[in-house]
Symmetry: C2
Subunit: 477 residues, 2 copies
Amino acid sequence: MKLLFEPRSVAFIGASNDPEKWGFRILANLIDGGYQGKIYPVNPKGGEILGWQVYATVADIPETPDMAVIVVPPQQVAGVVRECAAKGVQAGIVITAGFAETGDEKLEQELADVARRGGMVLVGPNSQGIVNTQAKLYPQIPPLFPQTGHIAAVSQSGAIIGNICRHLIMRGFGCSKCISSGNEADLHTEDYIEYLADDPQTRVMLSYLEGIKDGSRFFKVARETSKKKPIVLIKSGETDAGAKAAKSHTSALAGSDAVYQTVFRQTGIIRVRNLYEMLDTALAFLCHPLPRGRRVGIVASGGGAGVLAADACAKLGLEVVELPEETIKELDSFMPAWWSRGNPVDLVAGTFGEGPLRALEAVVKSPVTDGVILLGLIPAVRPPARVTEYSSEGDRKRIQDDMVTRLVGLYDRIAEMMKTYGKPVIIGSELPAVNAAFTQQMNKALADKNYVCYTMPHEAATAFAMLARYAEFLNLK
Amino acid sequence: MKLLFEPRSVAFIGASNDPEKWGFRILANLIDGGYQGKIYPVNPKGGEILGWQVYATVADIPETPDMAVIVVPPQQVAGVVRECAAKGVQAGIVITAGFAETGDEKLEQELADVARRGGMVLVGPNSQGIVNTQAKLYPQIPPLFPQTGHIAAVSQSGAIIGNICRHLIMRGFGCSKCISSGNEADLHTEDYIEYLADDPQTRVMLSYLEGIKDGSRFFKVARETSKKKPIVLIKSGETDAGAKAAKSHTSALAGSDAVYQTVFRQTGIIRVRNLYEMLDTALAFLCHPLPRGRRVGIVASGGGAGVLAADACAKLGLEVVELPEETIKELDSFMPAWWSRGNPVDLVAGTFGEGPLRALEAVVKSPVTDGVILLGLIPAVRPPARVTEYSSEGDRKRIQDDMVTRLVGLYDRIAEMMKTYGKPVIIGSELPAVNAAFTQQMNKALADKNYVCYTMPHEAATAFAMLARYAEFLNLK
């Protein structure tokens, strides 16, 4: 599998000069992504594509490529794999669709047989490609080039890999490896999980699953892997309507959801309900220590957010604990007289300066909390009093850069608190901008230091609950 | 209440020259928002604030202001309201906190009594202010200036009004009126709902509720209003933890959630679980006709999204219908041979040009569907084949503007379809950018024509379910 992710050379079979074709677009992405190895486009017409000499057949390539990307029509795929194997190629990605997902189980079985007999591992068919950011390897359909990072994704849907990459980029984060596993004729989700379990670059794994082909191996691999790093997973085809759709998508047999649910529980897999929850959960693992239990302190600038977070926590089985006398007393010493004296701690609109951080620390260090949810950063970042201060472009840039610095400084201090007390502090807050570019700038500055800002109270509560769930698995294992 | 939202003049009691104080910031927002009427800052020190002459007392103001904003310390509020009433002022907003929410029920009762005896209606106390975009009236704490639009919001939490405004702006939409109702000593949520029911600018109402003070009036008003326009509502304090938090936030008695749930069902209120669902639902009502029933067609470019949407629909009680022979036949006539022949209709990665629209129309006009969810717009918008085409700034702008035009053109045709067949087409798709500014540009161009693009399949399914729920209420009423 190392050859798949770190090839010194790539054969690209079905390369094309037509920008409408995948044979062009995927090759372009491989090149534009900055891949440093050799590329051997293959097309019977020969010539040159995107600056690389084209070979008529795989046999004509002057060396044995480490890996092959295959984009020829479905009926030709098995033949191409046979040629690759004959050439000594040991790893391939089949982008081509039109196998088991359209009912042609025979064609798919033949493909798997040819690959195995030839000693080749295959991604796909019906794959959208793979990504290894460290090797600047992006042979995939969407023109997305996430930076290096610590999140890996394996998905039986290619488009969903696209979703994941896109959102990670938008939020300023990178990834380690992405695999669109397609129909999984040869390599299965559990094979990739096993590989990623030992990948030092990967700290959190995401998986979108429609069905499992080898249940007992999946169980074993997932259980071993979960002990090392969290696997955050969406299993679709939960309902009859979804299961039917999955069958025609990747030919997956969705199976009984109750059985899957049991498997996920026992293997420590963190199941989530949708793509937002998946991303939020991945970032929760990346950016926070695990809590020792389910007791939450909530510190909120804005009472409504505190109420929503308390509701969300309770619904997720987290305990919004009573604060002990000593914590209340500490808060009394600097909070305005009319503060709420309870959990959530309402910072009361208007608490600037050191107040919020002192209140946060009091709740973080309180012996009754296993972690804290902090809501509403904006007052602490101190946006300008008047929108008119943004009047010139230069002023705006100066004010914005200053706010970014203040924001990162605040997170630095909170990171310090997490370290000191060994508890997560999960932040749910708007960022102080209605300008998407500025918001992205702030998120990027945070992400560069592995800091995350959730937007809504329920997202922060969900992040906490997912951390707690995984911590419980690790404690039980 | 007209004087509250369309005042010809505003007294601002507790005006300040200190940019750290609400007495400065709110006044600055009132001015910066472009309010055209007269402003009378009041402060015993006199002088001038932000260019307006300051009066020592309300009595000194040379005319009777239509409305008063009150930002003085809690103990002085009742006295100020008495002065306002003596001056003939008929409407006021009390920003000041420190009343029932901190346990001082007596102070709050006194305030309500003084206002009623003086013939004044009061917003608050503990309000963050109000907004009337048509009058360019923004006397509120956060420096947010949404444009005119058709969504109104009433919230017992000020910060949540801020959340709503911020997200509407980020997504390119405006609003009609916003009210941070605070502790509701005098005017209650139901009073605002009653007013907004007849506000021609308002087409959808949002409400964040912690508790109701006059249940029977709320019930009556909500039921009558729901017949005219949808009310989308979050009721927090659902859980014990949340209810306790609500008590110390706005002194609201959250009450039994089961009772609330019954009230919401019977009054046609659309209850949602969180702020994202609230915004998604509001935009669903703004941008689509209501479906006649719960039968959904799904058209997806990307099988995984189709599976997720089918699951989400089934979980929400929507029916992912079997397509009849005639619809399958029509699709057969132009879809690639290997298409899935079922619902979801998988467009199969790579279907460019007219294909997606023809497939969509076939499913929209199919007699078995009440509406359609369309997933995955990106191929239809035809982003450039290579990221390197963006190399110069001028190229990038040209390509981006061209994509915006194509996107809006696509929506125009889908809007036409919705009109022709009287069914909603709800779009869930990434937009083709990983650049937040460009994404915001696209969303803004859509919003300007009342078009919305959801991102995730489950959001589109939720939007459909909310429309169906409201349609059922209207049919039963």
